[in-house]
Amino acid sequence: MRLERPARSGRLIGLTPLVDVVFILLVFFMLASTLDGRQGLAVGAAPQGRGEGGEGAVLVRLHERGMDVAGRPVPPDGLRAALAPRLAADPDLPVLIRAGEAVALDRLVAAMDAAAAAGARSIAVAGGAGR
């Protein structure tokens, strides 16, 4: 069976303006959008339960020079080693990191990383490393 092809109706709008618009949109989105994915840390509320900075939590204080864990000075790269035995004994032990006013955020994030690497499940941060 042979069907008659319908006669092609004349185009109302040419193809060229459409292509122009699509090209312009393409260039706009290519230039205006950024493709790199953003990465971040979840910094939630202070962990509930044993209380913020209160009883039970091990306190890490960051000073302008050096840091201490529960009052004992710790070398800059020794935080993980200092926390690991405590967290091995009690994996749910909350870690509270207090950062002094002038401590850079880099150090705070590094301390959070070290605490997480030592096995801490709940890490809270607080301002002020008061003596």
Binding site: R11, G14, L15, L18, V19, V22, F23, L25, L26, F29, M30, A32, S33, T34, L35, G37, R38, Q39, G40, L41, A42, V43, G44, A45, A46, L62, A99, G100, E101, A102, V103, A104, L105, D106, R107, L108, V109, A110, M112, D113, A116, A117, V125, A126, G127, G128
Partner: protein
């Protein structure tokens, strides 16, 4: 002077594959790309081994290396964040790694007090991290 009009050529059929490809590229960039407002300050986020991909959703708080803060491009004091960001979800904190930690913590505390949920601190993956 009257020039003869060039004879109209039928629309080229071979343009259609080109348009298909351009449409695909357009849709790709529309879906994958992200259009964001210009950042108020250049920020070098801290490195972290725990950085995970975050989906942009809510307001963006920027904290510069000198501690100044912006909410969605407008300068703001951390104390004022509590009311401005009340109930916000998916807040991204773009803080510079050299910013005073106390200021960043004040911002986080203010967001927490405002009831903001799903607060993320922008970080870049540390070298050697997966």
């Amino acid at each position: 002077m009257i020039l003869p009009r060039p004879a109209r050529r039928p629309p080229d059929e071979h343009v259609i594959p080109l348009i298909n490809v351009v449409f695909l590229l357009l849709i790709f960039f529309m879906l994958v790309g992200r259009i964001e407002p210009p950042a108020p300050v250049a920020v070098e986020p801290p490195a972290s081994a725990r950085a995970r991909a975050v989906a942009p959703a809510g307001p963006v708080v920027a904290v510069a290396a000198d501690g100044r803060a912006w909410l969605d491009g407008a300068p703001i004091e951390p104390a004022a964040l509590a009311e401005r960001a009340a109930g916000a979800r998916g807040v991204l904190v773009r803080a510079d790694g050299r910013a005073p930690a106390g200021r960043v913590i004040a911002v986080l505390r203010a967001l927490e007090a405002a009831g903001a949920r799903d607060v993320r601190l922008l970080a870049r993956p540390a070298e050697g991290a997966p």
